[in-house]
């Protein structure tokens, strides 16, 4: 039967071990990106003016919540790391659950959805970070990285981790889709066994 052969191919073999390793790596990458960006905060006092001889100081904070793209970045990375954690837990602790065709398909579709979600989040945060780093003289937006260097460095680290997560999720998606393909040697057996019909 076609179903049992596909399930056999999917549960045993190298592809599930490779998938497990890749999922653990992707979980770690996206979790670290979410945590580093989530804890990204820097407070600094600047001298904004002088009244006579005494300088006036004002305190400014750079937080990730100020930019909606970074909020989306944290949320999307948390969602993708949770998805990977769930898949790893299913593979490690759900040893006797049967991998039906519907479940394999839903895993492949979920992987594809998560990879597009993660790539959108990483890209939006990357372009917003580029505006923060270089400013935009046409729109008269000043760059903020010269004043909040640690905030920018932490953000850059989180971005690198997220892009590594994107690459890993693409590979995971490809492996999940390849597990859906049926082994080809089924056809020859059925055509040889079919008898000729006598009227």
């Amino acid at each position: 039967m076609a179903v049992s052969k596909l399930v056999l191919a999917a549960t045993s073999g190298k592809s599930s071990k490779i998938l497990l390793g890749l999922r653990v790596l992707a979980f770690l990458a996206t979790l670290s990106a979410a945590i580093v960006m989530g804890l990204n905060k820097e407070t600094k006092t600047f001298v904004v003016g002088n009244v006579g001889n005494t300088p006036i100081k004002a305190t400014f904070t750079a937080k990730f919540q100020h930019t909606p793209a970074f909020v989306y970045f944290v949320v999307a990375n948390a969602m993708v790391s949770f998805h990977n954690l769930l898949m790893v837990a299913l593979q490690l602790f759900g040893g006797k659950t049967e991998l039906t065709a519907f479940r394999l398909l839903s895993i492949a579709i979920l992987d594809m959805l998560n990879v597009t979600l993660l790539s959108a989040a990483a890209n939006a945060a990357a372009f917003m970070a580029e505006v923060g780093k270089n400013g935009n003289k046409h729109a008269r937006w000043d760059k903020i990285c010269d004043r909040f260097a640690t905030y920018c460095d932490h953000g850059a680290g989180a971005l690198i981790a997220a892009f590594a997560g994107v690459v890993l999720m693409v590979i995971i998606s490809a492996v999940s889709i390849s597990r859906l393909v049926q082994p080809n040697n089924k056809c020859s057996i059925s055509t040889a066994a079919s008898p000729s019909v006598a009227p």
Partner: protein, 164 residues
């Protein structure tokens, strides 16, 4: 008969996705406005923001790819690559749309904490055209997700409906 209907449906979907990506590209490229503001002349073009340039490039790539796949013959072996390339194009579309949206949102609302003023008040026509391009990009993205699911279904048989 069912196969012919499905193929025509997929062809129509791909034509629509090609049209949407092309429309997003053209509307973004032709967005251009000059405004003078207290003796300072401000000219807004799509090349001012890196995210809009990436949006234009991504939609150009997707349009060219859709146009080429429209002419792919039915029995060609390249349909397996179409699944992979459809996923790549979907990712390209979501990332470019998301980046352009993030930057456009700052242009519309500004960012008070960073001292960035919104520019939509000074160049409203530019802002409207960028919004239109982003909506067309979103339509192209939705169509591409449907196309990805269809390519996956036609190359791989996920529900194992065929017995042989």
């Amino acid at each position: 008969m069912v196969n012919l209907t499905k193929r025509i449906g997929a062809l129509v979907l791909r034509l629509a996705a090609f049209g949407a990506a092309l429309a997003a590209l053209i509307v973004m490229v032709t967005s251009h406005e000059r405004a003078s503001f207290f003796a300072v002349s401000l000219e807004a073009k799509y090349t001012d923001m890196a995210a809009f340039k990436y949006f234009v490039i991504a939609n150009a790539v997707v349009s060219v790819y859709s146009f080429l796949v429209l002419f792919l013959p039915k029995e060609s072996l390249l349909w397996k690559f179409v699944v992979v390339l459809d996923l790549v194009m979907t990712m390209l579309l979501t990332s470019s749309l998301s980046a352009a949206l993030a930057v456009a949102q700052v242009g519309k609302k500004g960012n008070a904490n960073a001292g960035w003023l919104p520019i939509c008040g000074q160049v409203p026509k530019f802002c409207d055209q960028v919004t239109g391009a982003l909506i067309a990009g979103f339509v192209a993205l939705v169509l591409y997700v449907l196309l990805l699911l269809y390519s996956l279904h036609s190359v791989v048989d996920p529900f194992l409906l065929q017995k042989s």
